[in-house]
Amino acid sequence: MKIVHAADLHLDSPLRGLPAYEGAPVAEVRGATRRALVSLIDLCFEQEASLLLLAGDLYDGDFKDYSTALFLVEQLSRLADLGCRVVWLRGNHDAQSQITRHLRLPELSHELSTNEPETKVFEQLGVAVHGQGYVTRDLRENLALRYPQAHAGLFNIGLLHTALDGRQGHALYAPCSASELWARGYDYWALGHVHAREVIEGAAPLVFPGNLQGRHVKETGPKGATVLTLENGRLSAFEHHSVDVVRWAELEVDARAFVGFGDAVDAASRALDDAKNGADGRILACRIRFLGRTRAHAELGARQEELLAELRRSSIESGAYLERVQHKTEGELLLETLAARGDALAGLFQRTQQLLDDGEALEALKSALLEPLGSLSTELLREELADFRELVEEAQQLLEGRLLEPEAAD
């Protein structure tokens, strides 16, 4: 018997950070979360699954469009032909979602209670699913403590939307420890909320399948669901199956051997091709980061825009979507050496370096920059100025390029 475990569908959640540029596969990226859901249902059919578990966050909490719900219902309804049942619960996003409040899922779907832990027993399958959904978004209560003990003679699954005892980048909702979960005596914990796939081995596997579709550059790698195989009422295997349609990647390109601009383009293009080949025919959304101490540092700094345009051309050829190019290189001309020359330029870079280590000065510079930008979207500004230090470093690299290697800028 097969059970499919997925979480964090975030249906109709947009893919962030991908700018529109000529030739960018904008249309291909559109509707990625929907297509991932279709693939999930296809997976249920392929595996002839008897049960689909959804561990919360079906949509983004702030999105109110009801077509999202209708699409979910349409897809889950397909499972009726297979006789596959669905058990789901609300996560932090669903708790505040207006869509969830009006949602009427198909007959074979069952939502676990938000008031107290509920157990749904499937006698025919020999499976009991225990779980409780979120009644509010900001749920800080340890829900697991109140989950019932395992039912004897059945395969017990705990369904829970939690960050356990904390996961980077995820709010600490429904906190609990692994040992508290194991103490319930269940055979498998189907968890949700953490977007990176993670398996915690122990008395029973605690599995975060990760989200169905990566939505930004921090959600890289294959995304999908976990398929459980039960033989004679026992878990014989569980494995990941990718259903994502857009694959995110961060490509780090070693710039140490670069002599000039062309090397950067060649190396990054190669990295793009390799990554695209590894994406199993999916669209590759990626960020390129140049690293290392290199002779080409100043030239890359001076020709940032040109390099971006060049790499976008390469990305179009490779069938990839370039999110951004980051310059994290260092020049061969050390600032110490520059300082030893003792001229006005040395002063410029010395002082910029001091500025980077001075929080207050950085704040002052930021305020000065913001002053004439009052009319700009504060949302955008906030995001871009979040790491102001990095921005100043980029400016420094630009100046290095323009002032120390003016030929490169010409």
Binding site: P19, R34, D65, E323, A340, D343, L399, L403
Partner: protein, 1152 residues
């Protein structure tokens, strides 16, 4: 650092050109004069090539090839001399005088870590730079000063570029810049996305509306159904009223007709047909009788049938045989004459061949005398083979004779002698191998020399103690020495820097303390202070005066004045005391500050002592360490010493290794020489290892070649002899075979002649003639036989024809018997043709009579049949006679038509009755009034239309609501949400780009302002002095405003300030030169000097200003070495005049 000399060893047009630049140390102005084309620019490039490497694509390789380019220099720095050479190659291009690689880091250190571009722009200045600098000044004080400080005008361009790029990206109230546009698109996407979101409530509302509209449509559909039923029923009745009345009428007429015989529908037609057929048959019968009697009369007129009718003309072929008979009668005599001629020819041809026959018998006997075809074939074969066999025998014999002769010649040849080559070949292999080793042997020797020199140099450099020079064995050296020395140097440097800092701090503290002491002294030196007692006294006096004044009836003016005086005095004293308390407090504060400073100074002094002690300890430790290794290393130079020591040890090891390898190789080379000598039969006379080895090898190679060629010749000769012997065997066999074949032929020939009866001596040519005669005889005999056959055939045919004709004439034409058979044939042919025509006419008439009789019989049959049909019709109608039959037929047809109409009406009514039945319809029609029925139908129709309109509306509503609901299933909102994010990312990218540009711009502007603020004062002051000198007093002071970012100079003549943009280009250039020199002076105040390279700077200056400029350079040259390249002889003279003796030196390029 400074150049002591510059050596253009091989560069551009120079070969071994050397400039002595040692004069004027530590500075010195060296004017390098080179007229145009003398290589002034080349030498400037050479200096840069020396310092930073020769360009891989150097254009200075015209006299010397690119790989041979070389520049050298003696450089001094802090009292240390370096002799460096720069080579044009890929690796290790910087070497010392001995060719040892020198680290580029050393040169970088000497140059104060200045990269090539900065060196060119900061420490080099040419006219172009001067122009650019002058232009940069127009950008404002900050840019001008900063440009002078960075020695380039790029700052202005970079700043302008950044500003331009920022403006292209974003403008506060702009629409077109890229970021503004992207933001517009972002806002539009946000607005659109907001519009497209449909929350669940809207969906529910839409669903409710759909349900309602669908329910209403259902209701209306039910109403419409009922109405339609009612309307249908009434409309049907209305539409059937006319059919119903027609039915009633038809039935009435049928009743009136009553019952009667219903005839068949075709009864009338059948009657008419039978009557017509009977009439036609009567006419035909009459016509037939007449025609028959005419035909029979014609047949009788032809008479009886003739006997000719039986003659088979086809079998007789009378016409054909008549023609052949006539032709044979003409040909026969000709053929007989031809036969006689042939027989005569045969008799004549037979005679030369010995056959003598008469013409009458020749044909019968000749056959047996002719040779058979197989004998003729055999004879021809033997004739043909004779020549071939004789030629073959001839050739074999000739070849045998030739080979015997060649072998006889070969027997006289000398057989080459065998030589033993093996020993020489072996020696040569060894020799060649050894020869390739000779170069290595020599290389090792050179390498060894170099290494030994390097060891000596390093030993000298390290000042090794005697026991460490040329040690008997190389001491194992601790390899971490360099790393430790580096650490120690770093520590020493840190200590030294700390010492300097501490000393500076100490100086600062001391000057601060002196200042405090001064201020304290000033405070202490203040006027004598009034005491509090004195103030009390004055106040008592004031109070007394006040008391006296208040008690007096009339206060005198004096008392009043006195009171005022005391009040004033008391206030003054109080004020003084207040002031003093502040002064005391200040003094106390100063004293406390001085105490704090003293503590700080003491702490610094202690730290300084400690640092010095640490420095000394470090120095001593390392002096000890190095002394145990035999060298004396100066503090701070430990790394160099350690490196040199390690290098020395490595060099010594390399020397030993090379010596050993070389010795082994030498022994091997000697052995090979001896081996080669032995093989050549000579012995080497000297002991020098490599001497003449090449010559020995060449000699051995030549000798070996000679021997090999002779050996090859001998082998070739032997092979040829064997080949010829084998050929002779083959030739002998061929000769024997040919002789045998000829003998066999001769026997066969004799047999043949015998069989032909020819004499034995008959030659092949003679027999060939005989055979030709026989062949001709045979041909003529064939012709004669053919003629005999043809004559016999003609005669046979004639006889047969005559006999056939006689037989026919006896039977059918007895009148012709006895006449010539050809005449009989002619007559019979005519008679036969005529009888054929009569017989054909007889056949035609007989056939015509038969057909006429058949037609009459058919007419009789039809006549009978029509009569029978008419009788049957009368019987069927029950008529008394044929004449009443038409009337009965008319009644029957009417009755049938009315019945059919009634049936049709009933069928139509039944179809339209809607299942009600005709009787019910008739009943209903009778009961209703037509007008009322019509009105009711109209009313129902109108109502139905109304309901249908309402239904259409309800259905349209439902469709619209369903469509609205369908829209909830679209992805528009989600797509719009994605579009917002995509547009946002686009805007963010541009925004980030803008922010980076703007930040870079801000940082650069701030730095320029800060630079200007820091250096404006001192730099302006010094630059003003220089400008005064350069402009010969035309401008005397310089103002740099950090407030409005301008530079102004004050004209001496007008006393007015002149803005920079109002200065002439020349003056601006002078101003920039002044600023650059001032900036360089400031730079060299703090850092060790590096040579300046100036290239024809003063081309546009007049003599006075050039002198002034040299005067300025002369002052700078006291401290800094200046190489001034010029193509003007004027400059050399002016420099000598303007610069103090001992500082100015002249060099001429290409002039020695």
């Amino acid at each position: 650092m400074r150049f002591e000399s510059l050596e253009l060893t091989a560069f551009g047009p120079f070969s071994g050109e050397k400039l002595n630049l040692s004069g004027g140390a530590p500075g010195g102005l060296h004017v390098v004069f080179g007229p145009n084309e003398a290589g002034k620019s080349t030498s400037l490039r050479a200096v840069r090539g020396l310092l930073y490497g020769i360009d891989l694509r150097s254009r200075d390789a015209h006299l010397h090839p690119l790989p041979k380019l070389e520049v050298g220099a003696e450089i001094s720095h802090d009292g240390v001399h370096y002799s460096l050479r720069r080579l044009k190659r890929r690796k290790d291009t910087l070497v010392d005088r001995e060719g040892n690689p020198v680290s580029e880091a050393l040169l970088q250190q000497l140059l104060g870590y200045i990269d090539e571009r900065t060196f060119a722009s900061r420490l080099g200045l040419d006219q172009v730079e001067l122009e650019k600098g002058a232009e940069a000044l127009l950008g404002g004080s900050e840019q001008g000063l900063f440009a002078a400080g960075t020695a380039g005008a790029d700052v202005r361009r970079v700043l302008a570029q950044l500003e331009k790029e920022c403006a292209e990206l974003f403008l506060q109230k702009g629409k077109n810049p890229r970021l503004n546009q992207a933001l517009g698109r972002f806002s539009e996407a946000q607005r659109f996305a907001l519009e497209k979101v449909s929350p669940p409530e809207k969906w529910l509302e839409q669903k409710r509306a759909l349900d309602q509209s669908e329910a209403r449509a259902q209701l209306l559909k039910a109403q419409r159904r009922e109405l339609k039923e009612e309307l249908g029923r009434k409309a049907r009745l209305l539409s059937l009223l006319s059919e119903l009345s027609r039915l009633v009428e038809v039935e009435k007429r049928l009743d009136e007709l009553g019952d009667g015989v219903l005839l068949d529908e075709d009864a009338s037609a059948r009657r008419l047909t039978a009557e017509r057929e009977k009439r036609d048959a009567d006419i035909e019968l009459g016509q037939g009788e007449k025609e028959l009697s005419e035909l029979e009369a014609a047949l009788i007129a032809l008479g009886p049938r003739a006997s000719w009718a039986d003659v088979d003309d086809e079998g007789l072929k009378l016409g054909e045989r008549l023609g052949a008979g006539q032709k044979a009668r003409a040909d026969l005599p000709k053929r007989k004459a031809e036969l006689d001629l042939s027989l005569g020819t045969l008799v004549q041809l037979g005679r030369p061949l010995g056959i003598n026959l008469e013409p009458a018998t020749v044909m019968g006997r000749l056959e047996a005398l002719l040779p058979t075809p197989s004998v003729v074939r055999r004879a021809n074969l033997l004739i043909a083979r004779e020549g071939k066999l004789r030629a073959e025998l001839e050739r074999a014999r000739d070849k045998l004779v030739d080979l015997e002769q060649e072998l006889a010649r070969d027997a006289g040849q000398d057989d080459a002698s065998q030589l033993d080559l093996e020993r020489l070949a072996r020696a040569l292999v060894d020799g060649r191998e050894a020869r390739s080793e000779v170069a290595r042997y020599r290389d090792w020797g050179e390498q060894l020399d170099r290494e030994r020199k390097r060891v000596s140099w390093l030993e000298r450099e390290l000042l090794l103690a005697a026991e460490f020079v040329q040690p008997t064995r190389v001491q194992p050296l601790d390899r971490s020495l360099i790393a430790r020395a580096e650490r120690a140097e770093a520590q020493a440097e840190r200590l030294s820097s700390e010492q300097v800092q501490l000393e500076r701090a100490q100086d600062d503290l001391e000057s601060e303390d002196s200042e405090l002491a001064l201020r304290l002294g000033q405070l202490e030196r203040g006027e004598e202070l009034p005491s509090l007692g004195k103030l009390g006294q004055v106040r008592a006096r004031r109070d007394e005066a006040l008391l006296a004044l208040s008690s007096a009836q009339e206060p005198p003016q004096r008392a009043l004045e006195e009171l005022v005086t005391w009040i004033v005095e008391a206030d003054r004293l109080a004020d003084r005391l207040r002031e003093d308390s502040s002064r005391v407090a200040q003094a106390e504060e100063l004293v406390r500050e001085r105490q704090r400073l003293a503590i700080k100074r003491e702490a610094h002094a202690r730290r300084l002592e400690k640092v010095e002690a640490e420095q000394i300890a470090l120095g001593q430790a390392w002096t000890r360490e190095f002394s145990t290794l035999g060298i004396v290393a100066a503090a701070g130079d430990w790394v160099r010493s350690a490196r040199a020591l390690v290098e020395l040890e490595e060099a010594r090891q390399r020397c030993n290794g090379l010596e050993e390898q070389r010795e082994v190789l030498g022994a091997r080379l000697r052995e090979v020489r001896i081996e080669l000598g032995g093989a050549l039969g000579q012995a080497p006379a000297d002991q020098e290892v490599t001497l003449g080895l090449g010559g020995w090898v060449e000699q051995a190679e030549a000798r070996l070649g000679q021997l090999r060629r002779r050996d090859e010749q001998r082998r070739a000769f032997e092979a040829r002899r064997l080949e010829r012997q084998s050929a002779r065997g083959s030739a002998e066999l061929a000769e024997r075979n040919a002789a045998n074949a000829l003998s066999t032929w001769e026997q066969e020939w004799r047999d043949l002649l015998d069989s032909l009866g020819q004499p034995e001596t008959t030659t092949t040519e003679a027999l060939a003639e005989v055979l030709l005669g026989f062949a001709e005889l045979s041909r003529v005999l064939g012709e004669a036989r053919s003629l005999g056959g043809r004559i016999a055939g003609i005669e046979r045919d004639s006889r047969s024809f005559t006999s056939d004709l006689a037989r026919i004439a006896e039977r059918h034409a007895p009148d012709l018997v006895g006449r010539d058979h050809l005449e009989v044939a002619e007559e019979l042919k005519g008679r036969l043709a005529r009888s054929r025509i009569v017989e054909q006419e007889r056949l035609r008439l007989t056939e015509e009579i038969r057909r006429r009789r058949d037609r009459s019989a058919e007419a009789q049959r039809k006549q009978a049949s029509a009569g029978a049909e008419l009788e049957a019709l009368v019987r069927a109608a029950g008529a008394v006679s044929l004449e009443v039959l038409p009337e009965l037929e008319t009644q029957s047809r009417l009755r049938r038509e009315l019945g059919s109409t009634r049936a049709e009406l009933r069928r139509v009514l039944l179809d339209k009755s809607g299942g009600e039945g005709i009787e019910s319809l008739l009943g209903e029609a009778r009961a209703v009034e037509h007008k009322k029925l019509f009105a009711s139908v109209e009313e129902l129709d109108e109502r139905l239309e109304e309901v249908e309109a309402e239904l259409r509306q309800a259905e349209a509503d439902a469709a619209a609501n369903a469509l609205g609901l369908d829209r909830f299933g679209s992805e528009v909102a989600a797509d719009a949400r994605q579009a917002v994010v995509t547009r946002g990312a686009e805007a963010r990218e541009l925004l980030r780009h803008y922010l980076v540009q703007k930040t870079a711009q801000t940082l650069l502007e701030r730095e320029m302002s800060s630079y200007a603020e820091r250096y404006a004062g001192p730099l302006a002051k010094r630059a003003a002095e220089l400008l005064d000198t350069l402009t010969l007093g035309a401008y005397r002071s310089l103002r740099v405003s950090s407030f409005d970012k301008t530079i102004g100079v004050v004209s001496t003549k007008t006393g007015q300030e002149v803005e920079i943009e109002h200065l002439s280009r020349g003056t601006r250039a002078q101003l920039y030169f002044a600023l650059r020199v001032a900036s360089l002076e400031a730079h060299f105040d703090e850092r060790p000097p590096v040579p300046l390279l100036l290239d024809d700077l003063f081309v546009d200056f007049d003599d006075d200003r050039t002198s002034a400029a040299f005067e300025i350079l002369g002052k700078l040259a006291q401290k800094v070495q200046i190489l001034y390249f010029s193509h003007l002889a004027r400059d050399v003279a002016l420099a000598h005049d303007a610069v103090p003796r001992g500082l100015c030196f002249e060099h001429t390029l290409g002039g020695g």
